[in-house]
Symmetry: C2
Subunit: 210 residues, 2 copies
DNA sequence: AGGAAGTGGACAGCGTCACTATCGGATAAC
DNA sequence: GTTATCCGATAGTGACGCTGTCCACTTCCT
């Protein structure tokens, strides 16, 4: 275990915690109940967990849910790709006010226009509606034009995501790739958006030359 | 205060907490030190705070930082737009390993190729590097092709963002619009990406007809 | 053979965060 | 004049993500 800690930079106490929480499989018991063997697979899994938690911002519970899904061979790739955001988001208390109804209509209109074929009421739809309704609550409909632009960008991105994932040969690493791509890709995208905003902003409001 | 609570649906105790934390300006003291007057402005501010915290997922400290910036007339719009992610992210401990160096090169290459002109070492650059380096650590360079695609999408999105913000006339609501657009837009984009992923995935791996 | 050092596991404790419950004195409403 | 409400301060709560301590056992070194 100390070796595992050294290899990954994760404190031993934290490794124990992850073992307790079921985020990391137990090592092979060798000769005695206080000596376990950890291998390459453990290093990879632990790295994955740390990445999801630290960079991806997932909670321990969300990570457990996601890992449970990717370890279950009965869950197909298609579902696994989605599980991430689904697991990370709260169960969505299903609010019911006029703003949400209007936002739902808008989202559904976008989905219909783009021809997206989806399962009935996926969690991400709920999340999109929440975000849109909240935008409306705060700013009126000043941000109304954004959603279609985002949807087009999202489709382009999703195609790149799927291209990348299907290009992975090994079925085991494929699921992992999908997971990391979804979770960390969100962070990367957000950061790039911010950089692009800064660029466009500087372009339109040129700073006074020093 | 009870009225403010009724108007926004936020518990009185929480309003008191926000007052304490400086997220909400005190009401006008009227006749006595135990009677305060809250107005329309308080309702809007409180709604904004709740939106950022609940839907946007910002911490109280991040909200305080952002609000402090938008209330300060010395901070120009250009900076305000960016403050959000900057304030929400941790101060970034500036790691220094080969993976980060390689990721930094890639990000800088993308920035250069797209012709983005940025301030030196903005926080979002750090965040992008972190995400990319972590992707690499976990999956090797299987996800290498994604970043340029994301960057192009990010630019398109940022242009829509800026279009929307500059279209807002009133300078006061403009900053608020920028803020909400940045924070909630990120959520909306993530949710739409997930929906698009589901669609593209279903398209490429058609589910067995029932 | 003997002692120091290391190992894995159980369990309790800690620090942070976002609230929430209680109290007390003062005022407003009737 | 009594009752109800209000505001502010302070302490407390529950969830989360670890972290510290202890213990029986084993391994290594001499």
């Amino acid at each position: 275990m100390a070796e595992l800690s050294r290899a990954t930079g994760v404190p031993v106490a934290t490794i124990k915690y992850y073992l307790r929480e079921g985020l990391l499989p137990r090592g092979e018991v060798t000769t005695s109940p206080n000596q376990a063997q950890y291998g390459e697979e453990h290093v990879r899994r632990l790295t994955l967990v740390r990445s999801l938690v630290e960079v991806g911002g997932l909670s321990i519970a969300a990570v457990r849910a996601v890992l449970g899904a990717i370890d279950d061979p009965a869950v197909p790739l298609h579902d696994t790709l989605g599980l991430t955001i689904d697991a990370a988001d709260a169960p969505a208390p299903a609010v019911d006010d006029p703003l949400h109804a209007a936002a739902a209509e808008r989202i559904d209109a976008i989905v219909a226009e783009r021809g997206w074929r989806l399962s009935p009421d996926p969690p991400a739809r709920r999340a999109a509606i929440d975000a849109l309704a909240t935008m409306h609550r705060v700013t009126g409909d000043r941000l109304a034009g954004l959603a279609p632009v985002y949807a087009e960008a999202a489709e382009r991105i999703a195609e790149a995501d799927l291209d990348t994932v299907t290009a992975v040969e090994a079925p085991e690493t494929r699921v992992e790739t999908a997971l990391v791509g979804t979770v960390l890709g969100e962070r990367l995208l957000a950061a790039l958006r911010r950089l692009a905003q800064e660029h466009v902003s500087a372009q339109r409001f040129p700073p006074p030359p020093t």
